[in-house]
């Protein structure tokens, strides 16, 4: 049999090789251009800031030689930066938690609605998701300004006008408003897959509603909670538009500090900004991996 197939194999191998070559060119043609773009204009820029973060800031703020570790040193010792980190992570945490507390019941409501309504209700959550973020933030400026609608209402109720804009509350409102759809959509996807007869089974076995929710439904919809939290948390911590427009110059998030280090402060400091951006990314990545691992383990 081995003798018979040997002559047959020869031309086959040739054919195979030419097929493989053809496939390789096809793959290269399909993958090449996009891959080039991502490497040149995504991966390479990240490499540039890695290098910049180890350089010395020149008089104009641009990076110069020699290489140094002092940028990282400053980030971990100077109060301004440490505070910005803590503050941003805290704001991110509060925003994520509140989005979850609003988003979970909302997603559940949409799923429990009659099928005809469900599409409309989901679509209504989807619209803000596609709508200009800047415009949605600006809408809150109109509402919260000193002679704005909310202050008119406060005044009409007999209270003195309040400073609403440029406060922590304004920033938090804007952040939740901007991020809520990002929480609801993954939650919807994961609650939709949940088998509601399990809740009946739990109550048949003597669990009350709260127990059934905490021990059955919540663990089983954890992937949605995790995905939604990550989608809310990351943009929130890096936010600078909301804190800039609704918080004035008073409420600083990491994003605002980064912007100033690259563009506004006198002089700017690109190496320090690069180091800060990288640490920020690193903290987030580690946090996200940790979070996903924990929540999916619970799920098992």
């Amino acid at each position: 049999m081995a003798i018979q197939s040997a002559p047959l194999n020869e031309p086959n191998r040739e054919l195979e090789r030419s097929l493989q070559r053809k496939q390789r060119t096809q793959l290269g043609g399909l993958l090449g251009p996009g891959l080039f773009w991502l490497i040149a204009f995504f991966a390479l820029p990240l490499a540039v800031i890695v290098i910049y973060s180890f350089m010395t800031p020149g008089s104009t703020g641009r990076p110069e030689l020699p290489f140094t570790l002092s940028n990282y040193g400053r980030l971990f010792t100077e109060k301004l930066f440490v505070n910005a980190y803590i503050r941003s992570l805290w704001m991110g945490f509060v925003t994520t938690l509140l989005c979850l507390l609003i988003g979970y019941p909302l997603a559940l409501f949409v799923i429990q609605a009659p099928p005809r309504w469900r599409t409309v209700l989901l679509f209504l959550v989807l619209i803000p998701f596609w709508t200009n973020f800047l415009v949605r933030t600006y809408a809150w400026m109109v509402i919260l300004q000193n002679n704005g609608l909310l202050n008119d209402l406060i005044n009409w109720l007999g209270f003195p006008r309040q400073t609403l804009l440029n406060t922590d509350g304004a920033v938090l409102t804007g952040l939740i408003y901007g991020q809520l759809p990002f929480m609801v959509l993954p939650l919807y996807a994961s609650i939709e897959r949940f088998d509601f007869t399990l809740m009946e089974a739990a109550s048949d076995l003597g669990a009350d509603k709260r127990q059934a929710f905490l021990r059955i439904m919540l663990p089983l919809t954890m992937p949605g909670v995790a995905a939604g939290s990550v989608l809310v948390f990351i943009p929130t911590v890096g936010q600078f538009v909301v804190s800039d427009l609704l918080g004035g110059a008073k409420v600083d998030l990491l994003g605002n500090l980064l912007q100033r280090l690259f563009q506004r402060s006198n002089p700017p400091n690109w190496p320090l900004g690069s180091a800060m951006a990288l640490i920020f990314m690193l903290v987030l990545t580690v946090g996200v991996i940790f979070y996903f691992r924990n929540t999916t383990e619970q799920n098992r």
């Binding site: 991502l38 600006y138 809408a139 563009q263």
Partner: protein
């Protein structure tokens, strides 16, 4: 849904429990409606206040279309709109082409380094936008410095750098949408076409392409929306470039006027049209 799933048991449930349950359900409904009000009230107020005669745009004193007429007189705003459309159209065409071919490669081929490419594709979606924007700003400065040093070409940030960056940002989103439409693809259709004598090129254009077209259009619409709405990436990669979100931002920083309400309303209208379009395309699928 929990209640309706078990009708026979309700008769046996004590009345008090039943009433408490319906109170809870009502509270849940009220809470959810309040959440919808929270999502839509600001948008509606903004639209309403774009028609007010009050020059500060803070009170409803009368109805006028005046602010919309004034938009056309604002030369900066008009040119910003044209620039934004130009960036949006070019970056959408390029990122859709690159994203679609990449999606095909990722779904149809198994190759070494595929996981690495996968990671590279998902990173731009997950990474904080500002980090990507700053890295591009640093990268362009670095690249321009090298070009100037080596070839004595002096380049500056402008529409081109913004377009390049928008493409880099949008490719991943296009890939995700197109890959989703490729996953439900019945490959026997292609085999059938080839059995009937079509070559690969014909098979692709006559069978594969029409089937995944809704996915490609969906991806393109998403890329276009992202480009039109983007502020952070444009702000850092094209300093001084006149784009709509940047112009609105700088006007807002100065003062709140009904004119900004008017341009914002128009931007909302465009966004909503794009969502409706993408939904219509998806439903066809």
């Amino acid at each position: 849904m929990i209640e309706t799933a078990s009708p026979p048991r309700t008769a046996a449930t004590p009345l008090v429990v039943q009433r408490r349950r319906s109170i809870a359900a009502n509270l849940h409904a009220a809470f959810s409606i309040a959440a919808y009000v929270f999502l839509y009230a600001p948008i509606l107020i903004l639209v309403l206040f774009s028609f007010t005669t009050d020059a500060f745009g803070a009170r409803l004193t009368g109805f006028t279309f005046n602010w919309y007429a004034q938009l056309l007189d604002d030369k900066r705003l008009v040119s910003a709109t044209l620039n934004t459309l130009q960036v949006g159209i070019v970056s959408t065409i390029v990122s859709t082409a690159l994203g679609t071919t990449m999606a095909l490669a990722m779904e149809r081929f198994r190759f070494r380094g595929r996981t690495g490419v996968d990671a590279l594709l998902y990173l731009p979606v997950v990474i904080p936008e500002i980090v990507m924007a700053l890295s591009l700003l640093a990268f362009f400065a670095f690249a321009f410095q090298i070009l100037e040093g080596l070839f004595n070409i002096s380049l500056r940030n402008g529409l081109a750098t913004v377009i390049i960056s928008h493409i880099a940002f949008s490719i991943s989103f296009v890939v995700i949408v197109v890959r989703a439409s490729l996953q439900g693809f019945d490959r026997r259709l292609e085999e059938a076409a080839q059995d009937l004598g079509a070559n690969e090129w014909q098979t692709f254009w006559r069978v594969t392409f029409p089937i995944i077209l809704p996915g490609i259009i969906g991806g393109a619409l998403l890329a276009f929306t992202i480009s039109l709405d983007d502020f952070v990436i444009s702000f850092f990669t094209g300093p001084g470039v006149n784009l709509l979100p940047i112009e609105v931002y700088s006007q807002v920083k100065r003062s709140i006027t009904p004119k900004i309400n008017a341009i914002s309303t128009l931007m909302l209208l465009v966004s909503m049209t794009l969502v409706l379009l993408s939904q219509a395309v998806q439903r066809k699928r």
